[in-house]
Symmetry: D2
Subunit: 135 residues, 4 copies
Amino acid sequence: MKVTSIRIRGYHCDAYGHVNNARFLELLEEARWKFLEPAVRERFFETEKLLFVVVNINIAFKRPLLPHQLIHIHIKDLTYNNRSVSMIQEIIDDRSSVVCSRAEIQFVLLDSITQKPVPISDEIKAKFEQLLTDD
Amino acid sequence: MKVTSIRIRGYHCDAYGHVNNARFLELLEEARWKFLEPAVRERFFETEKLLFVVVNINIAFKRPLLPHQLIHIHIKDLTYNNRSVSMIQEIIDDRSSVVCSRAEIQFVLLDSITQKPVPISDEIKAKFEQLLTDD
Amino acid sequence: MKVTSIRIRGYHCDAYGHVNNARFLELLEEARWKFLEPAVRERFFETEKLLFVVVNINIAFKRPLLPHQLIHIHIKDLTYNNRSVSMIQEIIDDRSSVVCSRAEIQFVLLDSITQKPVPISDEIKAKFEQLLTDD
Amino acid sequence: MKVTSIRIRGYHCDAYGHVNNARFLELLEEARWKFLEPAVRERFFETEKLLFVVVNINIAFKRPLLPHQLIHIHIKDLTYNNRSVSMIQEIIDDRSSVVCSRAEIQFVLLDSITQKPVPISDEIKAKFEQLLTDD
């Protein structure tokens, strides 16, 4: 499991006073980039000419997120299909440890030349498992 | 069915050059507000002290959206549960009529005093059906 | 003068309940793309390999913008320098005609090959003046 | 001087591949909230019933910001007027120490009851100076 912590700000929110549902997806994307940072640094995906492309998101909004709230975004439960990967992202409130949102993200790795999804090789699986467990 | 048309701009896109997945949710929200405009004007939900709150979104990103592209967002297939409503939103490319994205949106109507979801009454159902069919 | 009309939505706003200052810049950018649409359609800037790049924005926030408010964004007073152009954008409330925000935008036209600002030629000036006056 | 560090992500960027000008204002707002965090924690402005409202931003975009770039946002040079405060925010590239953007932000403190800007008292000035110098 990998965790990214974010402090909610007024500009994340909408006129209802809590974080807008589109902004949830940006918070989740921030956590995915943070998760991928070691691989970006070693140019793993760049060398392989692979682009991350999200193909499906199923997100449940369980609790509102409010200004000044500290949240922790967990990435876990990666599942490897032939040509796609699924992961679970959960947004956890710092104080109560309550799950405020739960999302299932499905993405492909696009060959940046052919623009087709590549097969999820053992090398790619090993890289993701390393990202999940490393500090 | 109800249609909202939007021209994609450079600021809707991310570093990949196509519309970012968080921004898809804003485009869908714009279409929902457009759909609700007649009810907002007659203060239907305000009088009833009801707030729209989205509780789940399941969205498939099928085709990238690009700058200058004209899209049409369809709202259809409303399904009424005891205390929630589901709808389908599809993003259609103007030129090819291809479905670029399909989302199932589930929302509740929150009593703004008690902050609890109200039952979906026949009056509420009739209002939505009127919004779907009226010009 | 050129006018773009936009309906303010809840998602344009922040936790203060009015449009966030970053979002003002998106509303202004939407109006600039609308203004440029005829030139985009005839591929004027594309043929010339020119990119619009904003180099300075000086924006005064005079009145808050609220959900459901209808605004009109005016573009006017283009001033041509050697290698940059300035314009005024004003956000006008539909009901009161009050100026809610006034911005001075300075931009350059970047040669997409050399990445240097090109001189503002008579042809470019004529194109902007045409965009300002045409319907 | 106070510094907030942010890693640029693909979703901060637009179709030009670099950070969109509206997003610069969100990055600057993030740095202002970070700067204000100790005062938020001790409920300084809440107790005084004061709201931060930005009234003018003059921002120069000097260098593009790109995905994966690490930036440092500096807050400095606070100037106190009768009923407003000005500050300078600079965005500095981590590697080159080049100033990529410089903004002058003018804000007022609004009395949340009367909705009028309050005079900038010696107590308020002392609080800001403490925020600038404390760790």
